[in-house]
Symmetry: C2
């Protein structure tokens, strides 16, 4: 951030009065521009025991496998967002179920909220951001080719809980920031 | 948003190619400025059966009662944020427990994540954003003078679950946007 989105003048990085952290503050109008984590919402869609995965058509991690997930928009719930992403990325009309995982991705300033989901009919495809989508049995999941550690975490917890017949939710924090931070 | 925070030139509101929603797009450098919901993290701190509430010293809802809660910062987890807010608003060093509620406040573009918490020692006070803090029994909670509906929701679910001896989590969506939206 270099300029004030309100008045267009340069911003400077300083700790505002009464605050503890450096913020981007406008040198002209004084507006403080806070930066906060963004929410990624996603789900693990299941159809008759098989799980829907998508292969990414975009960076980062193009060509690797993920669950449908993406940035939450204003005006929707996390469940709305997870459902919309399933439609956009996998052309899959899912029913969102219980909360599965909340993953804090500290190096990316993201909070990922993942749900269980049901795909009532085996209808799916590749949205603009996917190369393909597939329904996998547990044994077919491409563990070595998953796009993100948060996806690995969500899938493992999903399968464990399914085996145990419970709907737990799980927290995790991922932190790949330089150690000096 | 009027100007590009990257290059300082005017932005325009339009639907970028491949997108479905209007975004602020820079007329000079083309940067797309996404706007996403922000996370508010908070907790219901309990000490020997009593609940810690704060009376707000700032708008909105100055003078009304709330639980410790505030905007999550980059580089922390939702639990970190809830703990920090308890320290900042109520000078209370709490231990964050299980997930209590996720409230989508659609008219404010907020996702509020509330936890159960334990206040090990009855030590608390008024931080810069609070007029006072108190430990209330269930009967003393000022239901008519709570600051927000999300706080009412969190407290009611907290007390119900405590009565039932369970640690559930609860979702809610609040939507006070104009009906035309």
């Amino acid at each position: 951030m270099n300029f004030c989105s309100h008045c267009g003048q340069p911003v400077t990085l300083r700790v505002p009065e009464g605050d503890q952290r450096p913020r981007h503050v406008c040198t002209a109008c004084g507006t403080i521009h806070y930066q906060n984590p963004r929410i990624v919402a996603g789900c693990v869609p299941e159809h008759e025991g098989r799980i829907l995965l998508c292969r990414r058509a975009i960076e980062p991690r193009r060509g690797y496998w993920t669950i449908p997930a993406g940035f939450m928009e204003n005006g929707e719930t996390t469940q709305d967002a997870a459902r919309r992403e399933s439609m956009e990325e996998a052309l899959a009309d899912v029913e969102i179920g219980s909360l599965l995982a909340i993953v804090h991705v500290l190096h990316a300033n993201q909070v990922q909220v993942m749900f269980r989901a049901r795909l009532p009919r085996p209808e799916y495809g590749a949205g603009a951001e996917s190369l393909e989508s597939v329904l996998c049995t547990e044994d077919e999941i491409p563990w070595q080719d998953l796009a993100f550690r948060s996806v690995d975490f969500a899938l493992r917890r999903y399968l464990e809980d399914r085996r145990d017949g419970v709907d737990r939710h799980h927290f995790m924090a991922l932190d790949l920031r330089p150690a000096a931070h």
